[in-house]
């Protein structure tokens, strides 16, 4: 909570200003504005089709905005490419896990280290001694992260053959390897049981304590209410509410449209 209070008197890490996204006739994101304070955990919730995933894709640069502005670390990032935004210090995980085919868990995490290293094409081709030190550092850091996520013993197993929860952990390690300022988590608890979900909640809190700001989209209410500093509620592409968890739980409009309904997506 201190993260939010602290963040209010400085510029937010991420800010959306009247962001729109239209797909033909569908107004998927309709004038969304909110800010994510440095060092906080912010959650975006809403029923299916509310525009959460679209919003994530707009922030990460996978989709162009129709209008509006997104600023990250003081820079406008709408119109930038995904890899450029990643270089600015944004990392993400995916709702339907996207690991690299044919790579071990360790190698996947090493790819995440890309933005933190710089050996070029010719250095790689000729295996220049200058790259050896960096390569070793990448490997060590990747190993540390696998250890942090308690899957160090699976480092040399092909990532795509791991169990679902373990693949999630590899994705998380890959995102953390970039040492991001902002971590986007797209349904980090989807497909996990309650024990694993509790584990993920602890992990996200730990990541925040490491100084990484977290923005997550999530369906699991217990997770969201437990760990978020602030919650944004979306419905049909518009922002319904934005508040601390305790207030969101009491918000009648939110309850009627989202929490009160049977929510079995």
């Amino acid at each position: 909570m201190s993260g939010v209070d602290h963040g209010q008197d400085q510029e937010p890490l991420l800010a959306l200003h009247d962001v729109h996204k239209r797909f033909g006739g569908l107004h998927a994101v309709n004038g969304i504005s909110f800010a994510v304070a440095t060092g906080s955990i912010k959650a975006v919730i809403g029923p299916n089709g509310a525009g959460k995933s679209t919003l994530f894709n707009l922030i990460a640069g996978n989709l162009p905005v129709s209008s509006g502005a997104i600023t990250f670390r003081g820079q406008e990032i709408q119109g930038k490419k995904t890899h450029q935004i990643a270089r600015l210090g944004m990392a993400r995980t995916f709702q339907n896990i996207k690991l690299f085919h044919g790579m071990t868990a360790l190698e996947c995490v090493m790819v995440g280290r890309h933005v933190q290293s710089r050996s070029g094409f010719f250095a790689g081709l000729f295996n220049l001694p200058a790259t050896w030190k960096e390569e070793r550092a990448i490997r060590i850091r990747a190993m540390e992260l696998l250890d942090f996520l308690q899957i160090a013993d699976l480092a040399h197993v092909e990532a795509s053959s791991l169990a679902f929860g373990q693949q999630r952990a590899v994705e998380m390690a890959r995102a953390l390897a970039a040492e991001p300022k902002l971590l986007l988590l797209d349904e980090p608890a989807a497909g996990l049981n309650i024990y694993e979900t509790a584990e993920v909640a602890r992990l996200i809190a730990t990541i925040r304590d490491m100084g990484i700001t977290v923005l997550l989209v999530e369906h699991d209410m217990s997770l969201v209410m437990d760990i978020s500093d602030e919650i944004v509620v979306l419905s049909f592409g518009t922002k319904l509410a934005e508040d601390i968890p305790a207030s969101i739980q009491k918000n009648a409009e939110v309850i009627s449209i989202y929490l009160g309904e049977n929510n079995e997506d």
Binding site: N62, T82, H83, M103, V111, S119
Partner: protein
């Protein structure tokens, strides 16, 4: 990882020497010519293998890059520049000492580019062409990329066939030998030529270059950029990890074009000429088939199959059905062994033979 790579390369070096000894022992020296040629084709295939298997981009135009290399090297080292002596590019080459004088078969003065300069220019040209067509073409995916590169290959083929400068249907002949290294002390000069006296030397030069070629590719695959290449299959996650996928694809496309062009240059000097058949679409399809047979993400498999099958083809084992065989191989591999022939059960079988090997 590094130890395994170095061991494999050492094994390949030993296998090369072993191959030579086997040929000497069996008195089949005439195989050396085809083995030399197969090594150069192998260079094309492993370059394409990295593009297809690791970067996931298909190219049905690689015979085009091979031909750009081969034809430019041939033209520059045979076409007389005497009439253009005053032209600026020719004067510049002259100032740099990159021109050679000689006599044509009628005894007239002949002014040509030296093989080394021609080689560099030809490979550079292929790299620039790859860069130029790569920028728009690599934005395409799957079938569309295949068709665009097929179009490129066809254009190169047709230009070579139609242009008098490139000898139309006859191609270019009388390409001189390529003095790679001058004589040093007791060692004679290293020359790429099809001359019978240089047969053993050329076998080792070709295989040496092939081994160097695969060593560089193995370096690349194991590096930071190599990991980025291998992540291209999952483009969204690669981009989110900060990888400029467009740039990455372009780099490996140009690299594979450089491999193909280099092979084209060297093989043209070895053969003493080049014909338009080298640029034909069927050649490009053959390279793709060889990569597929070897296993897309298996550089060693690609090398073994590429060199092996090309050798058999050059020996005329498949007779008039040469292209048929390669077409059939492509279909069979796609149906029965999408991971390449070496991915078949043979591997498990081999492991069982070795005590303590993986099951």
């Amino acid at each position: 990882m590094r130890i395994r790579k170095n061991l494999s390369l050492a094994a390949l070096c030993l296998a090369t020497v072993g191959l030579h000894l086997l040929i000497v022992a069996t008195g089949t020296q005439f195989y050396l010519t085809q083995l030399t040629m197969a090594a150069y084709y192998g260079l094309v295939v492993i370059g394409l293998g990295v593009l297809m298997g690791y970067a996931g981009q298909i190219s049905l135009g690689h015979a085009g890059f091979f031909a750009i290399g081969g034809y430019l090297a041939a033209a520059l080292t045979t076409r007389n520049l005497q009439p253009f002596q005053e032209a600026l590019p020719v004067r510049m080459l002259d100032c740099l000492g990159l021109l050679a004088t000689g006599q044509d078969i009628y005894g007239a003065a002949l002014l040509t580019v030296t093989p080394w300069a021609a080689c560099v220019l030809a490979v550079l040209a292929a790299a620039l062409v790859a860069l130029a067509i790569g920028v728009p073409v690599l934005k395409l995916k799957g079938h569309y990329l295949a068709m665009a590169t097929l179009g490129f290959g066809t254009i190169v083929y047709r230009i070579l066939l139609a242009s008098a400068y490139f000898g139309e249907a006859d191609g270019i002949v009388e390409v001189p030998a390529f003095p790679l290294l001058p004589a040093v002390g007791r060692f004679g000069p290293v020359v790429i030529s099809g001359d019978a006296d240089h047969r053993i030397l050329n076998f080792y030069v070709a295989w040496g270059i092939l081994i160097l070629g695969i060593a560089l590719l193995l370096n690349l695959i194991g590096s930071r950029v190599g990991r980025a290449l291998r992540s291209l299959h999952s483009a969204e996650a690669a981009e989110a990890s900060g990888i400029d996928t467009g740039r990455c694809k372009l780099q490996v496309f140009v690299l594979s074009a450089v491999y193909a062009a280099t092979a084209g240059v060297l093989l043209t000097h070895f053969n003493g000429g080049i014909g338009p058949g080298e640029a034909s679409v069927m050649k490009s399809v053959r390279y793709v088939a060889l990569v597929a047979v070897g296993g897309m993400t298996n550089l060693w498999g690609t090398l073994i199959m590429g060199v092996g099958l090309t050798f058999l083809s050059l020996r005329g084992v498949f007779g008039a059905y040469d292209d048929v065989v390669f077409g059939a191989i492509l279909i069979a591999v796609m149906l029965f062994a999408p991971g390449g022939v070496l991915s078949l059960r043979l591997k498990e079988f081999a492991y069982r033979l070795i005590p303590g090997g993986r099951s």
